[in-house]
């Protein structure tokens, strides 16, 4: 029948027209995951963003470290979460802001790093650019896990494969950090980073090679592998520095924002008054103040990060020397330990501008390993005040419990509520 044929034709034509309308609409407002992770431009931009993610959270690690070791005190303007860190103990619960922020900002960096490690090899890139990006990603992932494992007892170390990541214990996490760093080192040794990587991806002022070595030294020492710590530290070029770049518009120094602009907290005055007379590092970190904190502790003013574009050193040259001193001391090689210790005590300044300018110690004043370690601990307190290392030091040097308001942070509620693998909270 003629009409039937005609109708069938109309029907089919409509099917064709309608089927031609694309149901797979792309999002024009922002690059999607597929676009970023499968293109050279996307991978490069993510490598830039990775460094920014790490850079915007450097304050959190320092805050946990210095509140828990009682060196910071909150001012009236502070948020409640920091005051909970200051008073410590059971005041710090899983809902605490810093507990949550430190965790989530670090894992955002780790997630980006894992995406780069997985996807950079699949994308067409100049060899040296690829190796640079992979090494950079492994380094930032290692630094982030390293900082977390100094604050939380257990941490997930592989996160992009599951929406409920599993947790690794401290030993496994430290081993993993060191192996990541060694892989990063091998990556750039085998294929040196390209000029394009150095000029347009690597952050201004950041020394990739020396930072990898410094981090191997730092985490090998924390793990107790003193030979590895020593050999890595010996490779670090102490005439170089490595830092996070900030500017006054798109990436402002977060420590400046909180300590100078918002004045949430100040350094406790006893840090300055307990210092050895004539220690030049006191004035580097703080300037004498007259105010009291919210909980009535006398406090000083900060003398670092006083502008929004102040750089943040990812490690200080003095730390490397002190790693050597500690490694020797723990191996009971007190002679070499004293040599390294005195380098730090006596330097008038260094590439980072830090100098104690103190007289050297003699072997007689530090007769045994215990005395040597005590002295190294004290030097670390003054050399490395705002670096986020003091909490780990306090535990590693077996300082009394009273020195710390908590040993470990509880796990964040946001993690516990949605990840059944979250371990029970540490007692203190």
């Amino acid at each position: 029948m003629k009409t039937n044929n005609l109708l069938t034709l109309v029907w089919c034509a409509f099917l064709l027209v309608a089927a031609g309308c694309e149901l797979d609409q792309l999002n024009p407002n922002a690059p999607t995951e597929a676009q970023v992770l499968s293109t050279p431009e996307g991978i490069k931009a993510l490598a830039v963003g990775l460094q920014a993610q790490y850079g915007e959270g450097v304050n959190e690690n320092v805050e946990v470290s210095n509140f828990l070791t009682r060196w910071y005190a909150t001012m009236p303007s502070s948020v409640l979460g920091l005051r909970e860190l200051e008073t410590g103990g059971s005041d710090v619960q899983g809902f605490n802001g810093t507990v949550n922020n430190m965790w989530s900002t670090h894992y955002r960096t780790i997630k980006s790093a894992e995406d780069l490690i997985t996807n950079a090899p699949k994308v067409t890139l100049v060899d040296g650019t690829r190796s640079g990006i992979i090494a950079l990603a492994k380094l930032y992932k290692a630094m982030s896990i390293g900082e977390l494992i100094e604050c939380y007892e257990q941490v997930p170390i592989e996160v992009t494969s599951s929406l409920t990541p599993t947790f690794a214990n401290r030993t496994a996490a430290l081993d993993y950090v060191i192996s990541l760093l060694e892989q990063a080192q091998q990556e750039i040794t085998a294929t040196p980073p390209s000029a394009d990587f150095n000029a347009s991806i690597l952050g201004i002022g950041f020394d990739l090679t020396n930072t990898i070595r410094a981090m191997i030294a730092r985490y090998a020492l924390i793990k107790g592998d003193h030979d590895k710590a020593l050999s890595a530290a010996n490779l670090v070029d102490l005439t170089k520095t490595s830092s996070i770049f900030y500017n006054s518009s798109t990436s402002r120094n977060p420590i400046y924002l909180i300590t100078i602009q918002l004045v949430y907290y100040r350094p406790v005055r006893t840090w300055r008054t307990n210092a050895e007379a004539g220690d030049g590092r006191v004035a580097y970190w703080v300037s004498p103040g007259t105010s009291n904190s919210f909980l009535s502790k006398p406090v000083d003013d900060f003398n670092q990060f006083k502008t929004d574009n102040a750089k943040f050193y990812v490690y200080l040259p003095g730390e490397i020397t002190l790693i050597k001193a500690e490694a020797y001391a723990r191996k009971n090689d007190l002679a070499n330990a004293l040599i390294e210790l005195n380098k730090v005590r006596t330097k008038a300044t260094d590439p980072a501008g830090i100098g104690a300018g103190l007289p050297p110690k003699t072997a007689a004043t530090l007769p045994n390993q215990g005395a040597m370690l005590d002295e190294i601990f004290k030097q670390r307190q003054y050399e490395l005040f705002i670096t986020g290392l003091l909490l780990g030091d306090s535990r590693r040097f077996s300082k009394p419990q009273v020195d710390r308001t908590r040993n470990w942070l509880p796990f964040p509620d946001t993690e516990r509520l949605s990840n059944p693998n979250t371990p029970t909270d540490p007692a203190f």
């Binding site: 309608a18 460094q51 990436s251």
Partner: protein, 984 residues
């Protein structure tokens, strides 16, 4: 495109085409050509019913009556017995038997139709696929005549629906002219998306966005305001999943279809209406006029002079409108053309609304089997808006009436410079009224084109294309030197361009087999939406000028979106005699918003209608009293689209390092398995007619379960994400609707029709899959929690003694219990309406409508700020200033949110309309068919116990979750409108 998606689609298309072709190719009996003639008249007056519809049941064959009421049907049919239905809008359908045998010319005779005063026998099309008598439907469909909309003189078309549809909660959220109405059909069925129904005009889906392009403190209009109430012929409202077959994944909130007027057979008609009106505020706050600024105990107390700044804010607002419509046509061509010009002042000084609306509708028969219908509607509107509502920001005029202590003199100095108000972070309300500008312009075109073909007597094909395009442009201009808030000035331009294209192809095929009738409807639809929003703003303006280029520090942003929805459906209705009707339908929807593997979604529905009164035994048993009884049952599933267009994508955002642009992932993980929210509804109901349809009752009970509600699910932060929009929530709405309509009196002198509707809906979130959360922009007060209704109020209560009285402190001040608790529910328990329509002789008509809501709570944030001592403008604070109450009484009380949750129940005299129609020698002398004068009052009074301006408003406008929130929102004005209509 995934494999499963493709195969799904292929299988589905095959089924649809096969079923359809099977019907087409069924054996055809020997056919003969007949000429069937007859006449349709008004049974009472004997006048010809020009344009009445005559159809032969079980076929697509039909005709309309000409100027003499005569019709002629030319049809090729098989001999046998048929039933001929004669219908006309406003009249009861009459069905007669018809025997077709050898004789080629058959005369049906004169058929007189009775007026259908209670609208019992209407034909509806919404959600049914093809025109269908209400009697055959298993679900309730509410209908409303256009005259009720036009004569309501409501500010917008949707606002006119209040109290006129059972089961609909229609709420005008603000008295600002230019819209702001929310409609909830059988409760709120979503949490994260819009809960407004789908609006359709003459088959074309139209945009009803509430675009908050610039921040006016919470006020935002919705785009239905663009439509012209004068052009409405009738409205159909489908509340439940019954609309699923046609609108699938967009049907969760129900469907409102608007049919515009079309040309009629006969001499051209011209109708001109002019109207003028005035509105004012029904009630204002009593303000603090105490002569001192502080209580007697305060040594710094000084004498002050206070003012009631409400007098400077509110005014008597005037409005006028001119409407001209012309319509007519012959058997082949019919047209309707209209133009309307509206000008309306708001009751808040400096606010107004101007609109020009043009419409043309054309119907053309191309030949005996092909008809074309086209419609075009152009709208331009311009409104001067004033910020109000303190939900976002503190620049509103009424907001600052509450915030700025009224001992301050806010008037300008001799140079015209306004003083900085006491709370300098906010604004000087007099300056905002005088100098700040926030105009809105809308240009909109809505077009439709429809082809209807009846190539065979039992088959009709319909193709419809719709086009809805608008540009909405909002600006905010604050000159430099402003006293507060924006000292360096501010200028902002925000433009949204939206385009929506729809095309639908529907085929309807009917077969009669003895007592059984089959109607098959199959269709495809395609919908495309494209939107672009651009926002640019500058600060640091030069003096005098406030355009964008007069500023120094600029920011700009753009957002684009595209959405494609593609659907197909198949529906079968089986009718047994005129008694039993069964309908089953399946729809498959694919949408670009869903995840690739969840692209295709199936929505089934089934319904049953059993007209027991058409059984022979009925007439003998109940017939004399209960003359009509129908039982109906409907079950169906429908969907709800996600609020965002691109929620399925994981995206990267800019974050720069070392002055280089970089990318980092958004903390919201895209959901690759995103699906629509899915509602399953069951409704059961009955329709009754008593005393020969003198009383008509419709009763419905329904239960709606919504699953797969889209909510943000928290992800472990160790994944690098904070959350994902996921189909995790569940909620339910349960309720009933009852409508009783009756002819109270009907003789030559007086016709009196009375109607009462009541509906109840209970809303409850049954699964949240996460902790309770506060709705954005509600100051933490409106909340969502498992086991509670959406948007319930939450906050601290008073500390009380065991006997329930307040536990006062040593100074005699109330105290706050810091533990937050549930404080109230903004959802009404009952929605009521009572209307009476009187027609005295032919000339005088009176309509009275009372409607209201019972049992809902309102959070009166305005009163909280008014009595807070730091601002202290409320009358109550006088008692603390005079020393009658202890110092700090109100400061303590303002922290107790329980105090500000008030009963918002109200009954309003919504409409009182008196019209006089003149058609005598005088009007004939003027060359007029007739003339009508009508006086209408709206919102004349309210019976309520609410302490604020108006319990009906909502500061968060059309928000889904923040309801019943009164915070410096413009109340609905009381208006009187006088109109004169000349018909020629």
């Amino acid at each position: 495109m995934s494999a499963s998606y493709k195969s799904w689609k292929c299988v589905w298309e095959l089924i649809v085409v096969c079923v359809f072709l099977a019907q087409l190719t069924q054996a055809q009996q020997t056919r003969q050509t007949y000429t069937i003639t007859g006449t349709v008249t008004d049974a009472k007056t004997g006048e010809a019913l020009v344009g009445a519809n005559v159809t032969i049941r079980g076929t697509s064959v039909g005709a309309s009556a000409d100027r003499e009421g005569k019709y002629t049907i030319l049809a090729t049919l098989s001999p046998g017995s048929y039933r001929v239905a004669h219908s006309f809008v406003g009249y009861k359908t009459k069905v007669t038997d018809l025997q077709l045998a050898q004789q080629a010319i058959v005369e049906v005779g004169k058929i007189g139709l009775d007026e259908d005063l209670l609208q019992i026998q209407e034909v509806v099309v919404t959600g049914t696929g093809s025109a269908m008598e209400k009697e055959r439907l298993g679900n309730a469909v509410a209908t409303l005549a256009g005259s009720r909309i036009a004569d309501a003189f409501a500010p917008t078309l949707d606002a006119a629906l209040v109290g006129k549809i059972a089961g609909a909660q229609v709420q005008q959220n603000s008295g600002t002219p230019g819209g702001g109405v929310s409609v909830r059909l059988r409760g709120t069925s979503t949490i994260s998306a819009s809960a407004e129904p789908l609006y359709i005009i003459d088959g074309v889906i139209v945009d009803n966005s509430s675009n908050e392009l610039v921040n006016l403190g919470g006020y935002v209009g919705n785009r239905i305001a663009d439509l012209n109430p004068n052009d409405v012929d009738r409205i159909e409202v489908v509340k439940g999943a019954a609309a699923a077959a046609l609108y699938g994944s967009r049907a969760n909130n129900g469907v409102i279809q608007i049919f515009t007027k079309r040309g009629q057979l006969g001499t051209p008609r011209v109708s001109y209406r002019t109207q003028a009106g005035m509105g004012d505020i029904r009630k204002t706050y009593e303000v603090n006029m105490y002569g001192f600024d502080k209580p007697p105990s305060d040594a710094t107390r000084k004498q002050v002079t206070r003012s009631d700044y409400q007098k400077d804010i509110f005014r008597t607002a005037y409005q006028y409108e001119n409407h001209l419509a012309m319509s007519g046509g012959n058997e082949d061509t019919k047209y309707y053309v209209s133009g309307t010009q509206t000008s309306e002042q708001g009751i808040v000084n400096a606010s107004d609304y101007q609109k020009i609306n043009f419409r043309a509708n054309l119907d053309q028969f191309v030949n005996s089997w092909l008809k074309l219908a086209a419609g075009a509607n152009y709208v331009y509107s311009f409104s001067d808006r004033v910020p109000n509502g303190g939900i976002v920001g503190g620049e509103g005029v009424i907001t600052n009436f509450a915030f700025q202590p009224n001992w301050a003199d806010l008037r300008p100095n001799a140079e015209g410079k306004y003083p900085t108000p006491p709370f300098a972070a906010f604004a000087n309300e007099l300056e905002v009224l005088d100098l700040w500008k926030a105009p809105l312009r809308v240009n909109r075109f809505i077009g439709s084109l429809q082809f209807t073909a009846t190539p065979m007597s039992n088959l009709s094909l319909e193709y419809r294309a719709g086009y809805d395009q608008y540009r909405e442009n909002a600006t905010r201009e604050i000159p430099v030197g402003s006293s507060a808030g924006y000292i360096t000035g501010f200028s902002q331009q925000a433009t949204k361009d939206a385009l929506q294209l729809n095309s639908d192809l529907t085929a309807t095929h009917t077969v009669m087999m003895d007592d059984l009738g089959f109607t098959t409807v199959a269709g495809f639809s395609h919908s495309y939406y494209e939107g672009t929003t651009i926002i640019a703003s500058v600060r640091d303006l030069i003096p005098v000028s406030t355009i964008l280029s007069s500023g120094a520090t600029a920011t700009a942003a753009e957002y684009r979106e595209k959405r494609v929805i593609y659907g197909s459906f198949l529906q079968e209705t089986v009718g047994y005699q005129d008694k039993l009707f069964l309908t089953g339908a399946l729809r498959v929807d694919g949408a670009s918003t869903f995840g690739e593997d969840d692209r295709f979604q199936l929505f089934p529905k089934a319904s049953l209608s059993y007209v027991l009164s058409n059984e022979e035994w009925w007439g003998e048993t109940f017939g004399s009293t209960l003359n009509r009884f129908k039982f109906r049952l409907a079950w169906g599933q429908s969907g709800g689209q996600p609020a965002g267009t691109y929620d399925r994508f994981s995206v990267y955002l800019q974050q720069s390092n070392s002055n280089r642009p970089g990318l980092v992932n958004s903390v919201l993980l895209g959901n690759q398995n995103l699906k629509p929210e899915r509602m399953t509804e069951i409704e059961v109901g009955a329709d009754f007619g008593l005393f020969n349809d003198r009383i008509s009752i419709e009763a419905t009970y329904y239960e709606k379960q919504v699953k797969d509600l889209l909510l943000q699910r928290t992800l472990p932060p160790s994944t690098g994400f904070s959350g994902i929009l996921d189909n995790v929530g569940e909620l339910e709405n349960k309720g009933f609707e009852l409508m009783i309509k009756g002819i109270a009196w009907n003789d030559d002198m007086l016709q009196w029709i009375s109607s009462f509707t009541v509906s109840q809906n209970k809303n409850k979130v049954t699964k949240l899959n996460g902790p309770a959360f506060a709705a954005a922009n509600s100051f933490g007060i409106s909340r969502v929690a498992q086991g509670e209704p959406l948007g319930f109020f939450y906050g601290p209560k008073y500390l009380r003694q065991t006997d329930g009285s307040l536990l006062l402190d040593a100074q005699g001040r109330p105290q706050r219990n810091p533990v937050a608790e549930k404080l109230g529910d903004p959802n009404p328990d009952y929605i009521l309406a009572f209307t009476n329509e009187f027609q005295v002789y032919k000339n005088l008509s009176v309509y009275v409508q009372f409607d209201g809501m019972m049992g809902q709570d309102v959070f009166n944030f305005t009163r909280r700020i008014l009595e807070t001592p730091a601002f202290g403008n409320g009358k109550g604070y006088e008692r603390e200033l005079s020393g009658e109450l202890p110092v700090g009484y109100y400061n303590n009380r303002r922290t107790v949110f329980e105090e500000y949750v008030e009963d918002g129940s109200f009954i309003k005299l919504r409409e009182l309309s008196i019209g006089y129609l003149m058609d005598n020698e005088f009007t004939q002398g003027l060359g007029l068919r007739n003339l009508q004068v009508r006086l209408t009052g709206r919102n004349l009074f309210s019976i309520d116990d609410y302490s604020g301006y108006d319990p009906e408003i909502n500061a968060a406008s059309q928000s889904t979750l923040v309801r019943g929130f009164d915070w410096s929102t413009v109340p609905l004005p009381r208006t009187w409108i006088l109109s004169l209509t000349l018909n020629l």
